[in-house]
């Protein structure tokens, strides 16, 4: 049922004319008072790199999906993540040793291609591959967009029955991305977490001191 269209009301032109003037004056006045009142408020800017109350990564929502990170000491090279990835941005290669152990050749994640959907992290059964809360990864060459997680030759693939505990998220990336975590707060108000990554957990192997964060 279409409502009946009321006949067009032809306003008195003189009233319309002065009504326009009145509206122009009053709306300008109103707008000016609103903008003036904003001059006395505190801005809502989060002064990102150095003047925030706490690091931005701590303000992110619980479910935030940042850069991908794999803990190779827990990775069984089951290739589930690489198969799940819609874009194929994870490439894993392993080779077999004569003694039966398998060794990582490559474990690369192309950050430039990744669309942060989280399917790979969901597919990982051993909590090896996970999203961190890091987002600062701008680089100056396309090659650096790919993060190579195999840090030394002869890195053995983990066995599913004895896995070390997961290392804190973000600590591995910090060593791999050049200039990672350079943007630190200049003035630290109350608490002093200078490094974005806490110290590595005991028992973890590999050259993972948070040197890259300094």
């Amino acid at each position: 049922m279409v409502p009946a269209v009321p006949p067009p009301v032809r306003p008195n032109p003189v009233r319309a004319y002065f009504g326009n003037i009145r509206r122009a004056v009053s709306s300008t006045f109103e707008g000016m008072t609103v903008t003036m009142s904003w001059l006395f408020r505190r801005p809502s800017t989060i002064q990102y790199p150095d003047r925030t109350e706490k690091p931005v990564r701590e303000m992110l929502p619980e479910t935030y999906r940042g850069l991908l990170e794999v803990d190779l000491s827990r990775c069984t090279a089951c290739l589930l993540c690489a198969k799940t990835c819609p874009l194929g941005c994870i490439s894993i290669e392993t080779c077999k040793h004569p003694d039966g152990a398998r060794e990582f050749q490559t474990f690369d994640i192309d950050n430039g291609l990744c669309m942060f959907c989280g399917l790979c992290a969901e597919a990982c059964n051993f909590d090896a591959l996970a999203h961190t809360r890091e987002f600062e990864a701008s680089v100056s060459s396309a090659e650096q967009l790919t993060v190579r997680f195999v840090d030394r030759p002869g890195r053995l693939v983990a066995k599913a029955k004895d896995l070390p505990p997961r290392r804190p998220r973000g600590s591995i990336l910090a060593a791999l991305i050049p200039g990672f975590g350079r943007r630190r707060r200049r003035a630290a108000p109350p608490e002093p977490p200078a490094s974005p990554a806490p110290a590595p957990a005991a028992g973890a192997e590999g050259p993972e001191n948070p040197e890259g964060t300094a």
């Binding site: 800017t45 669309m115 701008s138 943007r183």
Partner: protein, 181 residues
């Protein structure tokens, strides 16, 4: 249109100089180069080239929550007056000519940032028949910013990265230009 990053320039991969973190107060030294670089890095006028969802993120980075104006980075709509071309979004082959045109119109100390996966390497649409696999195939890119789309803070960090790049190079050599692709 090649699919190799032919236009890439070696200077774009020069190592960044350390920023000094906590102890980097603003010091205007007597060297002219430093003054020039100081003025350049604190007045990055960027050109919005927003074609997809990264563009929304780019626009809101200039908004109140992550105010880019704090660093003197404001947007200019004319390529002649802007220093940094932020390619934010999917670049199709049809759009590629426009990107090249806009890059050619910029005045010389000019920088290009590829923002988001599509601009980095084609991203989600990499296999598409119509999408350029990375904007570095058509213009030389100085900074790659991963993310799909990146957070506003990530873009902010990339702008700081451009500042580092400016700080690390000689103004006059940059001014001579790298030619048009």
């Amino acid at each position: 249109m090649t699919d190799t990053p032919a236009g890439r320039d070696p200077t774009a991969q020069a190592p960044l100089c350390p920023t000094g973190g906590d102890s980097a107060p603003l010091v205007v030294t007597t060297r002219i180069d430093d003054l020039v670089n100081w003025s350049r890095e604190n007045s990055i006028w960027y050109l919005l080239f927003a074609t997809a969802c990264c563009g929304i993120e780019l626009m809101q980075t200039g908004g109140p929550r992550t105010d880019l104006d704090r660093f003197g980075a404001v947007f200019r709509s004319s390529p002649r007056q802007s220093d940094l071309l932020i390619v934010a979004g999917t670049i199709t082959y049809k759009m590629a000519d426009r990107v090249r045109l806009i890059y050619a119109q910029m005045a010389e100390p000019r920088y290009v940032m590829a923002m988001g996966s599509c601009a980095n390497c084609g991203g989600l649409f990499q296999q598409s028949y119509s999408v350029v696999p990375g904007v570095d195939a058509i213009v030389p890119v100085d900074i790659y910013l991963p993310g799909c789309p990146p957070r506003p803070e990530a873009l902010n960090e990339a702008i700081l990265r451009v500042q580092d790049l400016m700080k690390s190079e000689h103004w006059a050599s940059r001014r001579q230009g790298r030619g048009n692709p």
